[in-house]
Symmetry: C2
DNA sequence: GTCTATAATGAGATAGAC
DNA sequence: GTCTATCTCATTATAGAC
């Protein structure tokens, strides 16, 4: 199950080749989990994509659920750091108003998932799976809730007229809209050029900022 | 595959008992597909929940993919009718402004999925699966795109300043926010009472209306 | 750490009796 | 239309040689 990160004490440091293999396996798992979901991606497919034997996947990743957890957690820290750093930067420049907070949350995610290569792009879709399936709630709690709490606190500060429940609802609406850019781009149209994605980010920011303002101001 | 609704010519009308069995199977499939997704729900589990033998599921539903299609399509017509009727009602009363259009789209969905029993509640989650997985795009095109086109046309009419792409983006944001109420209610809090859900619907409407206005107005 | 081989289970689908 | 029985295949996971 998903109990812990379970950091076994190792006898000695793993070799470089071992680490490289492990990374290949995690990359393959990231892509296939993001495309087909947990149940739709098989260990065999992952092993095949990584160019290794099936047994190696279990050796490096443990059970399938452990592997899924590992893949999600691998980039969660980086994403959280980018978001919190962006938030701090806004604060020190006195730009931590509503739009500044939303930018700090949305910007790093879109920057990473659209401009940082196919693995990060897959990771965006992967988060959508984690977020949609209550089965992965323990993963969410560990990987994403801490950051979410920081941002909802900030939102409550700049929107004193909104109840915690309204802030929570608005936050869920925003997250689902963000993730829809990773999963439903085909509904809006191809996003090949950077100009298009930046355009879409502005539209998303405008949408969410106005939405939050409507929630925060009295009826 | 998902080619067609494939209406085989029957020799004679099915018996009442047969129809009842078929409904039980579809109900069970609806619940399990909505909870665990297509790959996570097995034919065996569906048969067990419906209280029939496994072979009957294939007999009534065809292949697993056919069964999924059938379940999604079963209520799609009702949902579409409610939405289009609500839209027409607004138009004849000269209330087809932005908020009226959004209400006609959101209201029937929330009414059905929160106040019309567990099957409709499951159907809401089911649509979230269909919408998130590109694999079901053919189903979306048949079941939901026609209604979506009607509403995006209306939105373009009342928001002449927004490009089709912006309307499309806003529509995707809105749909993802609506569906998040079916999948992520545990993130916002329990929705036991009707008052709570009505409250949430107002919040959602405020959020989306403001968001669309921000998209539709220059700068 | 990596491989081959295989165990153990569960999946979707069908044949054929009733 | 319904059931029993079964086919065929894919799945996760592990045992053990190297």
């Amino acid at each position: 199950m998903i109990e812990k990160p379970k950091e076994k004490q190792r006898q000695r440091a793993p070799s470089q080749r071992s680490l490289a293999t492990r990374e290949r396996i995690l990359d393959a798992a990231e892509q296939l989990f993001s495309e087909h979901g947990f149940d739709g991606a098989s260990i065999r497919d992952i092993a095949s994509k990584a160019g290794v034997q099936g047994a190696l996947v279990n050796h490096h990743g443990g059970s399938k659920e452990d592997l899924f957890f590992t893949v999600v957690a691998r980039r969660a820290g980086v994403l959280a750091e980018h978001r919190l750093a962006a938030l701090e930067a806004r604060k020190t420049e006195d730009e931590a108003d509503l739009r500044g907070i939303l930018s700090a949350f949305i910007g790093p995610f879109l920057e990473l998932t659209t401009h940082s290569g196919p693995q990060w792009r897959a990771y965006g879709r992967l988060i959508a799976h984690v977020s949609a399936d209550e089965r992965w709630r323990p993963i969410s709690e560990v990987c994403f809730d801490p950051t979410a709490q920081v941002f909802t606190s900030e939102l409550s500060r700049v929107l004193p007229g909104a109840s915690p429940r309204q802030i929570g609802a608005g936050f869920v609406f925003m997250v689902s809209a963000i993730l829809s850019l990773s999963t439903s781009t085909w509904r809006i149209g191809d996003l090949s050029g950077s100009a298009d994605t930046d355009d879409l980010m502005q539209t998303l920011l405008d949408y969410c900022e106005a939405g939050f303002r409507a929630i925060g101001s009295p009826g």
